[in-house]
């Protein structure tokens, strides 16, 4: 079943496409930033650099 969007279908489809692109961009930003930070943290810890609280035996 298809949806009849009338004479202004191009505007409606473009608006939804823009919304999807912006939301996808936000999700990608958060996910890729997380991945980058996790990798960097692993690299830094592999060099023997740790947080002060961890060195002191803390859990946070």
């Amino acid at each position: 079943m298809t949806m009849d969007l009338g004479p202004h279908a191009a505007f409606i489809v473009t608006a939804y496409a823009a919304a999807v692109a912006i939301v996808a961009g936000l999700v990608l930003w958060v996910v890729l930033d997380r991945r980058h930070l996790t990798r960097t943290l692993e690299d830094v810890e592999a060099q023997g650099i740790t947080r002060r609280s961890r060195r002191a035996g803390g859990t946070s």
């Binding site: 969007l5 009338g6 202004h8 505007f11 608006a15 936000l26 930003w29 930070l37 650099i49 947080r51």
Partner: protein
């Protein structure tokens, strides 16, 4: 346990670690329900199918202003209580608020062309929302320009609180000035001016977008906490090696 205890970054990470999967699932379910309601919603008697743009434009407008209000509350947390989690909340909200304001501007223009005959007019509502978008960009640039996070937080907090004056201007611009943009139709004295068949999908989409905002904001805050911890580790190591 006092509320302030939940504002501890480590406790925040532990809580959000448990909450985020549920929030993500709730967001997906809300969008699935909202999209099904959009599909079933009738055309408007004046706008026709173009009313479907409102189901994304209105939530985007709501979140564009809501994010700035949230940043303003966080700015008070930064300036009054000097709480680091307030800095983190403000910094994480800025790009998300900017993205939703951009979505509001783009979808509004795409609705305006067939309905008003133009993509853009310099009326008070449209202009004040454009100013909001530019202020978001200004805050993001500030955060990126000033390297020391505590210093950046203070400057960004002042700019955010000054910019908060634009929020009531956006809200009441349609009442104070003669604008092409319509007046309030969802939240207004005397009840909503929208028929229930269109109001229901609109409200569901507002809930879905708000859940999306909360999910993204919490995830971005977790990233920012991780970034600061990483920065502290590297600075401590550099000091030790110096």
């Amino acid at each position: 346990m006092p509320v302030i205890a939940y504002a501890n970054p480590s406790r925040f990470l532990a809580i959000t670690d448990r909450v985020l999967p549920w929030l993500t699932a709730a967001t997906v379910l809300a969008f699935a329900f909202g999209i099904s309601q959009i599909y079933l919603a009738p055309d408007d008697y004046q706008q026709g199918a173009t009313v479907k743009i409102m189901f994304i434009h209105v939530p985007a407008a709501w979140l564009g202003t809501f994010a700035w209000v949230l940043m303003s509350a966080a700015a008070l947390g930064t300036l009054v209580w000097r709480h680091p989690l307030a800095d983190v909340a403000a910094k994480a909200a800025a790009p998300i608020g900017a993205a939703f304001t951009l979505m509001c501007l783009v979808t509004g223009s795409l609705w305006g062309r067939p309905m008003w005959g133009t993509y853009w007019v310099w009326d008070a509502r449209l202009t004040s929302v454009l100013v909001l978008f530019l202020m978001y960009l200004g805050v993001i640039v500030l955060w990126r320009t000033i390297e020391e996070p505590t210093q950046a937080a203070k400057v960004a907090a002042v700019l955010t609180l000054v910019g908060a004056i634009n929020i009531p201007i956006i809200k009441y611009s349609v009442d104070w000035w003669n604008t092409l943009h319509q007046g309030a139709s969802v939240l207004r004295l005397g009840g909503s001016a929208i028929h229930s068949t269109i109001l229901l999908p609109l409200l569901v989409m507002i809930v879905a977008f708000t859940l999306l905002f909360l999910t993204l904001h919490l995830a971005a805050m977790r990233n920012e906490i991780m970034r600061r911890r990483l920065r502290t580790m590297l600075l401590t190591q550099a000091d030790a090696g110096a």
